[in-house]
Symmetry: C2
Subunit: 204 residues, 2 copies
Amino acid sequence: MAFEKYFPEILRELLKNIEKIPTYGERGASRLVYNFLKLPKEERLRIANLMMKASESIITCSECGIVSDMDPCRICSDEGRNRRYICVVEESSDAYAIEKLERYKGVYHVLWGRISPLEGISPEDLNIPKLLERVEKNQAKEVILATNPNVEGEATANYLYKLLKRKFPNLTISRVSFGLSFGGFIEFTDSLSLEKSIENRKKL
Amino acid sequence: MAFEKYFPEILRELLKNIEKIPTYGERGASRLVYNFLKLPKEERLRIANLMMKASESIITCSECGIVSDMDPCRICSDEGRNRRYICVVEESSDAYAIEKLERYKGVYHVLWGRISPLEGISPEDLNIPKLLERVEKNQAKEVILATNPNVEGEATANYLYKLLKRKFPNLTISRVSFGLSFGGFIEFTDSLSLEKSIENRKKL
């Protein structure tokens, strides 16, 4: 093939492997590789090195499922965190986003995804059995459902609500609230969020 | 800081460095890192290894500016390619996309970008002096302007057209054509492309 003759083997290999990163595919791989190659050599080597190190050292916490460099993770192994509050998120990045607020003092539970018939993801594919086990073991008082504010996230929250309510009738189950975004405009807020923000208004 | 206590150091370092990849930033870095970590360990190590190898071996061709594992690149060093035809592209990935068609037998010239006042990129930031040098040295017959079909790409093509016409009055300068996309619908084609496709209609 003529193309193969002109295209560097290492780039072909790199693109082929990066395509396998979830959500990447051909376009994502191309965007990553060609932009990565624009960096100066020492920065490229630093990134490749850090990816190597992260690949070696990052594991998922056997307790909550978050990506971490320790097992149990730094949150689960902290005696100061209240294990009776469990915040359920789709991905580790969601948990760390909440963690960045430095307000929440409970623990997390990462589902590793969301119910999504379109992507062929059903409840059995998610980290749910371990959640039920932890609710029981931790004698949880409250489970906060912090899945994403979209169709899949809502479906996942509804599914978990029903499942948890059936198994643990006394458990408090809550859902993060919907409403206006700070810095936004009422005029340009989508109708669902605007409706929710009025419905869930707070007395001053 | 409490957040730092809980967030793995290696992830912070990795995110910080990946943010520097052009077009990435905080969101792109987060998307890459957390999706990368979903791969099995051996696939992660393979990718990190390939990025290391690519970082070591990929250079930009001192002739045409394409990313390659050889200098001059595999295209520029092939005696069978016609150096009198120079196809000007914004990025290496554009050249390789054309190369994949296995039709074009000339050489390329990569600008490493496009004129974009919004991004603060002016003609002086692009690989243009080398293009003028090559047009002269190769005794070019035709320069094909294959910058992207958008405002920045058009501006870049216009700029190069004027510059080249002034310096090389006998040079043929062409622009890739606009029109319908295969597999698309006339009904849903944007008006500019539709107009161009009629204006540039071919006699059958």
